[in-house]
């Protein structure tokens, strides 16, 4: 009780602090220096109509490379931590029903196509490599959930993940080699609003999509394996 009161006391202070801090940040006002620049120049400089995407992939592409790395890290770390950790416990488990199994059989390819659609159109729509990859992985998640003993091939996942990551870095290095700047856009800008536009953005999003897809799949598989006992 005293602990809770103390916590409440702390919360009141922190809350008052945060509140008084955030209200002094102007809401809804024009304030951005860099944002204005991106809006004005995204089409001219990158050919991408989606300013967010241009920022994510080009202007602040380095963040995204880091973000990809973080996800990679999560997958790697999770696999490392959970590998061969759990003791086998005997536990009765319900098998999934036929309806789930068959239904997911049909939905799975569709999920892959949909995921591909999302990461291929990242520069035109709010999608991108991450959501695309997640949708692909969710296709696999369906299989994990609804198909008894379904297992993605670890070797393939590993190789795809590695190759995708290396390709991303290579794309950056090609930019460095051709234009003297890492992640430089060495492809043409194309016509705005077309699939083939925005230079290396779709290329990078393909790589990210594949990478995130395989990583999240591996991640889910790891989580599932550790909980599946017989």
């Amino acid at each position: 009780m005293i602990r809770k009161l103390f916590v409440l006391f702390l919360l009141v202070i922190v809350g008052f602090f945060l509140a008084s801090v955030v209200v002094s940040v102007p809401f809804g006002a024009e304030k951005t220096i860099v944002g204005r620049y991106y809006l004005n120049n995204t089409i001219g400089e990158t050919g991408g109509v989606n300013a967010v995407t241009s920022i994510v992939v080009l202007y602040r592409g380095f963040d995204t490379l880091g973000e990809v790395t973080v996800l990679f890290l999560a997958a790697t770390g999770l696999a490392a931590i959970l590998a061969n950790t759990r003791e086998k416990r005997k536990k009765h488990k319900e098998k999934p029903s036929l309806i789930m199994r068959v239904g997911t059989d049909y939905l799975f390819p569709a999920a892959i196509v949909f995921g591909s659609y999302i990461f291929l159109h990242g520069h035109l729509t709010p999608g991108g490599g991450f959501p695309g990859g997640v949708v692909i992985a969710s296709g696999f998640l369906m299989l994990f959930l609804a198909q008894w003993h379904y297992k993605a091939d670890e070797l393939w996942l590993k190789v795809i993940e590695s190759l995708a990551g290396m390709t991303y870095v290579l794309i950056g290095l090609i930019g460095l080699w051709k234009l003297g700047t890492f992640l430089g856009n060495f492809l043409g800008k194309g016509t705005p609003n077309m699939l083939l536009s925005a230079g290396i953005i779709p290329l990078i999003y393909i790589v990210i999509g594949i990478k995130v897809g395989s990583e999240m799949t591996g991640l889910l598989q790891n989580l599932r394996e550790t909980t599946e006992n017989e």
Binding site: K93, E94, F114, I118, P126, P131, S138, A146, T227
Partner: protein, 83 residues
């Protein structure tokens, strides 16, 4: 007017499902209520897309529907003791 009626109905529906989620009484009841709520939300997203004239809402709606389906599947599998 159209919008008020349509959105009003949907809002009422959402409230009802939220109530059921809160009331339960079993975990299955809550899961069922949430599942319905996601369906309603999928439709709502499409409708809002029309209202705000944003095509991208359709993509969002589709992703949402897909993820909601998988979430329901996961919850169901969990409830029946399959994962």
């Amino acid at each position: 007017m159209n919008w008020i009626i349509v959105l009003g109905l949907i809002a009422l529906g959402t409230v009802l499902t939220i109530l059921r989620t809160a009331l339960g009484p079993t975990a299955s009841d809550r899961a069922v209520a949430v599942d319905s709520m996601t369906t309603i939300t999928t439709a709502l997203l499409v409708l809002l897309g029309l209202l705000m004239d944003r095509y991208i809402y359709l993509d969002i709606s589709l992703v949402y529907a897909a993820l909601a389906f998988i979430a329901t599947l996961a919850i169901a599998r969990y409830l029946e003791g399959g994962v």
